[in-house]
């Protein structure tokens, strides 16, 4: 629960945006700062499932034999496979093809803790399902399609020892090792993750203070409102959320104020944003606007969105 986690307001805000717009998100920070705790609290701010979604997810769990004594799956799935999970275990397949973790996370969250520890081939196999929302498994016996529209939530350390950029503790890694570690995540995969968040260590005065953090329930009510706005916006389309918009749809639906356009222009020049980053920034800004109940994207939303794309620099 969010109220049990002290500090980390930026990360909480980012998770709220991710939940509202169905954006993929990665949390980076030294060990012990609450990445895993934040991630585990994430389901508490997700909106509940629609009737069709419940049926879809229940079907997957029934086929996988994971329904146990529940009659149906009522809350959004949260799957956290260990990094030793095989490729087939993650994306599905096998001689009698069964759904993998990405399908079990359909309409919910796939949480990959310590994402650099996953073998590269395993992670690369996520690229297509992340984009398409389903996975096609072709074997000699036939071709199958499993749905896999999931939100990727990843957590990682900044370097092998974990303390790169830490305020007080020194990092003991060689520059080469750091580079190698960071390169384990390929560019195309990172590109599909909208929000990149740094989770720094919590200052002691915050850790010991008695100030209560905002409750999950409050955050969730804002997320639900933002989702309602999106549902209306994409009424006749096959998508439900901002995170799924194509660039053509971004042009169609996202309206920016002149100041916001100016700020974006500056950002493109100063941060040398790529075309894809440019569109992602608009997408995140749109979600922030929805969270605020605004019809147009204002400059302040763009500047908030830009700080979540810090890795672009």
């Amino acid at each position: 629960m969010f109220e049990d986690i002290k500090g980390q307001e930026t990360a909480k805000r980012a998770l709220e945006i991710a939940a509202a717009g169905f954006h993929n998100i990665i949390l980076k920070g030294p060990p012990g700062t609450g990445k895993t705790l934040l991630s585990r609290a994430f389901p508490s701010i997700l909106p509940s499932m629609e009737k069709e979604e419940i049926l879809e997810v229940t079907k997957i769990y029934s086929v996988a034999g994971l329904l146990h004594n529940q009659s149906f799956i009522a809350s959004r799935p949260f799957r956290c496979p260990h990094h030793t999970t095989s490729r087939i275990g993650l994306v599905g397949g096998g001689s009698n093809p069964s759904p993998g973790e990405i399908s079990l996370a359909h309409r919910g969250v796939l949480f990959l803790d310590e994402i650099p520890e996953f073998p590269r081939t395993t992670l690369e196999s996520l690229r297509q399902p992340l984009e398409d929302g389903f996975i096609t498994i072709s074997r000699a016996s036939g071709t199958l399609i499993f749905p896999s529209r999931f939100l990727l939530l990843a957590a990682s350390n900044p370097c092998p020892c974990g303390y790169l950029g830490h305020e007080t503790k020194p990092c003991h890694c060689l520059p080469g090792t750091i580079l190698k570690y960071q390169k384990r995540l390929s560019g195309p995969l990172l590109d599909r993750i909208d929000l990149h968040i740094d989770v720094p260590s919590v200052p002691e005065e915050k850790l010991t203070s008695n100030i209560l953090s905002e409750s999950s329930q409050k955050v969730r009510s804002r997320v639900v409102k933002a989702r309602e706005i999106q549902k209306k916006r994409f009424k006749d389309l096959k998508i439900f959320t901002n995170g799924e918009m194509s660039s053509a749809q971004i042009k169609k639906f996202c309206q920016l104020t002149p100041e916001a356009v100016n700020l974006l222009k500056q950002a493109i020049a100063k941060l040398s944003l790529s075309a894809r980053s440019y569109f992602k920034t608009i997408k995140i800004s749109q979600t922030i606007a929805d969270l605020n109940g605004a019809t147009k994207i204002e400059a302040s939303y763009v500047s908030e969105a830009l700080q979540f794309r810090s890795h672009d620099e």
Binding site: I60, S62, V63, N96, S141, L144
Partner: protein, 184 residues
């Protein structure tokens, strides 16, 4: 005698209709053969079905029994065919008096004759609905997921004896009402 019982299997997420044809020959050496690309679990159904029928105090015919799982080119996996096979044998052997055309059966049998849950029951129920089959018989352990599908009569089966008594209209099992998700 020949009997034909509907059952289903799951490929991917979708159910596929399987016809379980059972022939009990009037002569020949006693034997039990399953054809139609069975895997190991389906092959072992022989022993479960034999024991379940005997322990449910019915008699398995002591002539040649042939079970065909059609369409024969789809590989059959799992233990969901135990129940339709047992019903087929008892039907072909004349213990079940009425013909069964409007029902679909899935379930694993224990040696005692109890019916156990199978994976993918909801997919098979959706299949039955799309094929306009009126009734589906599943293990009571599967009932809570199957009743999410409306427009089909769902019968919970505890064990083989109760099922046979129902099919012979001696002691009826009452169907489960569907659960409407909107009232959740």
């Amino acid at each position: 005698m020949l009997a034909k019982i509907f059952s289903g299997t799951v490929i991917g997420l979708d159910g596929i209709l399987i016809e379980v044809e059972v022939d009990v020959a009037s002569k020949g050496f006693p034997g039990f053969t399953i054809v139609g690309l069975p895997d190991k679990a389906v092959g072992e159904a022989k022993e479960r079905v034999r024991a379940a029928i005997n322990n449910a105090s019915f008699k398995i015919p002591d002539t040649r029994i042939t079970v065909n799982l059609a369409p024969a080119d789809i590989p059959k996996v799992g233990s969901a065919f135990d129940l339709p096979m047992a019903v087929g044998i008892l039907s072909a052997g004349g213990i079940i008096k009425k013909e069964i055309h409007d029902s679909l059966f899935v379930g694993e049998l224990s040696l005692k004759g109890d019916v156990r849950r199978v994976p993918g029951a909801i997919s098979i129920a959706l299949l039955a609905k799309s094929k306009k089959i009126k009734k589906i018989f599943v293990s009571r352990e599967n009932i809570s997921e199957v009743i999410l599908v409306d427009g089909i009569e769902v019968y919970p089966v505890d064990n083989l004896i109760n099922l046979i008594l129902h099919l012979n209209e001696v002691k009826l099992i009452s169907p489960f009402p569907p659960r409407i998700l909107s009232v959740l």
